[in-house]
Amino acid sequence: MPLTGIEIFKLLPKTNCGRCGEPTCLAFAMKLAAAKAELAACPDISDEVRAKLEEAAAPPIRLVTIGAGNRALKIGGETVMFRHEKRFENPPGFALLIRDSMDESEISARLERFNQLEYKRVELTLRPELMAVKDESGDRARFEATVSKVKENTDASIILMSPSPDILAAGLKVCAERKPLLYAATRDNLEPVASLARQNSCPVVAKASTLDELARLTAQLTDSGVNDIVLDSGARSLRQALEDQILIRSTALSKRFRPLGFPTIVFPGEMTDDPMKEAVIASIFVAKYSGIIVLSDFQGESLFPLLVERMNIYTDPQRPLAITEGIYPVGNPDENSPVLITTNFSLTYFIVSAEIETSKVPSHLLVKDTQGLSVLTAWAGGRFVADTIAPFVKKCGISEMVKHHKLIIPGYTAIESGSLEEELPGWQILVGPKEGAHIPAYLKTWQP
């Protein structure tokens, strides 16, 4: 449990030396409790107290970084079982599997897919993060060559997969600076794999066949100085795998059980041979608590829905996604096309633009910044009323883009039409439908 400022204060040297930058130890303790200061700033703290404070301050699920640099993936650090309790923090990474036994052309095709599959949505770039290279040949040189191909041709974070510490070491030799994730330390190879992780400061997967065995394994790993751990409970039946994901998270959060306080990795491709089913199974683990989802393969049709689902589930429930204020063309609008206005709540924008598209009437869609609020909420909060809409319409430049000066406002803001006509001289205000679904019918009657 996190300590209070007073509890921390009791452990500090109480010298009020000021070298931490705070006037007193009490002030420093208060800042520590609020996570606004670093323990390292205190020069006099004993190792014993440091360990105690670090233990208390550590998050219940450790934040683990896979890879290095810009593309590094952070997983773990979760604090709740349900997103409505606060939010989910760090979206799971998607990994594309490459077996070193695959032929050249298959490997190249996968590298190309990995690099090309990238999507823009709500001004975010959605893409997979990891490539998992699996030793199947048992051949050190072959594994090393495959890893090096992945390293040279992609900026992916890498997972090295082999039961053999020697083969893992061969892979590490070519990509150690990428801080790859080692898969996996088991009961049988714990010490050599742990030693590779220590020497290269790499994260490592602990793999067992039960949660009990897994907890013992991670305790051994942390005792040996390896702290960046990812968990594989070993379950390959869907039911058991889901149960393990839930129990690992809930044990770490509600019981503060450190040995399971790590992010997890799952392998939907080892639960089915059907690629479509694999993708749907992966969608379960996006919502239910995985840190890394390794896919035996992916294509645009399967990766895209997974990436969007992940974005949805990991959206902060308290902070709606918003898009930039501006003029958005739908279809290829010209100077005679209708002009509609809505708010910048991303969902509102998606629905309105999709309905305009359905209508097949090319239109200019004005999106007003309402700090991510939907039409009714923004209107009620004074952010989508004549006083704020009019200045935006004037300055956004739409006047020069259309010959007619007709503005279609959402049906729910009909009451603003009078004031808008006053504040936008020369514009005629038309009241559109209340519901997005009725936009197509409405637009079909459009006359410039």
Binding site: S237, S302, E309
Partner: protein, 319 residues
Amino acid sequence: MAYDKIPKTAYNGRIKEIRLGKGDTAVTVGGETCYPFYLFEGKMPNLPRIAMEVWDTSPEDWPEAALEPFQGVTGDPVAWARKCVTDFGAEMICLQLVSTDPNGLDRGADEAAAVVKNVAEVITVPLIVWGTANHDKDTRVLRKVAEVNEGRNLILGPVEEGDYKKIGAAAIGYQHTVIASTPIDINLAKQLNILLGNLGVRDELLIIDPTVSSIGYGIEYCYSVMERIRTAALTQQDKKLQYPLICNVAKEVWKTKEAKLPADGALTLGDTRKRGILLEAMSAMVLLLGGGDVLIMRHPEAIRLVQEIITELAAPKNN
């Protein structure tokens, strides 16, 4: 360190069991004593069920992938429903009364009720009848549907705050189940259930529609509202939320741009047909994890995937 601190959710509630349809092919849903598929903590005596969607008029905006399985029957709701049952093994049918939309074809109540009756007569599985969410029109149409199909235990909706009295009364009078529909809000859902209860709708004749959407179009809101409804029902003894949940998801998925977009060979978009199927199956999966008991789905392949996964999630543990 030994793992001996297995946590357990403190459940104190149970979802009511309701029986949909009549006779041998009636389907029971609900009865859960744990979160969806948390079978290490409780029971799901009735696994979630899937109703196949049938439209009462030829769909104009369905992508090819969704139309293809129903080629030749999409203009005939009776043949369409029969095909769903015989060819695809549908356990339930949901007839969407799209043609009654006043902003569309605006077909009358009598005609709609006759179509429902014709469909009901050729199938034995439970029949869900879904209006257009226009209060005036649904009131006229669904009351007529209820009357003409007296005693069949149809599942009628959406019944909303703006039209619950008249539709609810008709459902009570002619013995049908009510779909209590509210816009993604736990408090509104509870309030409507209370109103329907006060009106006289019996507990075993009510199912909640929390209003759902697809991946990419706000599914996270539905997911969280469903999770909150289940949390209140199972751990906070909120009796007025202890009802099964129904999710009318297919039409939300297949109307999206992403389900329709032709790939034109672009690697990023992949195969159009498979993309639509996966969007539907994954959206359904998210809603199942939120607590969905009945899913209204469209593509037979998406349905197969979801059914197989439901079976696996509930498979006996002996591996």
